[in-house]
Amino acid sequence: MTQSQARHPSSGLDAIVHQPARLGILTVLGEARRADFVYLRDTLELSDGNLSRQLQVLEQAGHVAIEKVFEGRRPRTWVSLTKTGRVALRAERDALRALVNRLDGLR
């Protein structure tokens, strides 16, 4: 068997992106120009602390950009996907799809 034939689709998964909460964050941002902290927290059903930790990881990896602003007196944290993040998200979706297709092929 050649090396390419032996390669499992799961080898296409990125450890930083693949974590469920982080993948959820990137998925939401992939559909939008930006989303705020509260929206991400409520949509993904995460605690404030957990979401903050995951956003920190993604920001350090260069996948998201975080902007803290004041709207009137109200502080707001907006999160958007970077180009790197968009590429990583697409790669993750392709790898997941390959795994799902593999399952469909086995059925």
Partner: protein, 188 residues
């Protein structure tokens, strides 16, 4: 990770994607805005050139209002999308509507002049449906196009055709928009 786990994760990210799309692009806004504009066009339905001029102004104004309402709702909900595609499509359609009405008048077809702007609006709905991944919007656009073709084939009087489209279709769009708004409020 095995394929079963991947399938579960895939389901979850598709759920999250769907939720984001619904929150970003609920279809009630363009239905209400263009429903109002279409009903209001009844006031100029007796004249093809006036109808063309009306939509030449109303289509871009309606687009700007739609985009402004989407952005306002997006800021309130905490998720905003890109509006560049909407501007490009909508101004293109407005230009096409005006050009179609002028061209039809030049060829002496009063019926075509009356129907051309609304055909452009119908095509805009189909394209908005594609942009927002909304089967409902695309279906409404397709139904509008079918209605226009039906009126054309039946050779309805231009004034009556334009009035029917303005009131019946505009009213239907308003009702559909209000219905979507009501359903989304109940689901929240």
């Amino acid at each position: 990770m095995d394929s079963h786990q991947a399938a579960q994760e895939w389901q979850e990210i598709e759920r999250v994607r769907g939720r984001a799309r619904v929150d970003l692009r609920s279809v009630d806004i363009p239905l209400l805005v263009f429903g109002v504009l279409m009903v209001a066009s009844a006031a100029v339905s007796d004249s093809g050139p006036r109808m063309g001029a009306y939509w030449g102004v109303a289509a871009p104004v309606g687009t700007l209002v739609t985009v402004w309402l989407y952005r306002r709702r997006g800021r309130g909900r905490g998720i905003t999308g890109s509006n560049a595609a909407y501007f490009a499509v909508s101004f293109g359609i407005a230009a096409a509507a005006f050009a179609a009405a002028v061209a039809a008048s030049a060829f002496g077809s009063a019926l075509a002049a009356a129907l051309a702007p609304i055909t452009a609006v119908a095509i805009a709905y189909v394209m908005l449906g594609w942009l927002t991944r909304s089967a409902l919007l695309a279906a409404i656009g397709a139904a509008l196009v079918a209605g226009v073709i039906g009126l054309w084939l039946a050779e309805v009087e231009p004034d009556r055709a334009a009035l029917v489209l303005a009131l019946a279709v505009g009213g239907s769009l308003l009702l559909a928009g209000l219905g979507c708004r009501f359903v989304s409020r109940v689901e929240q």
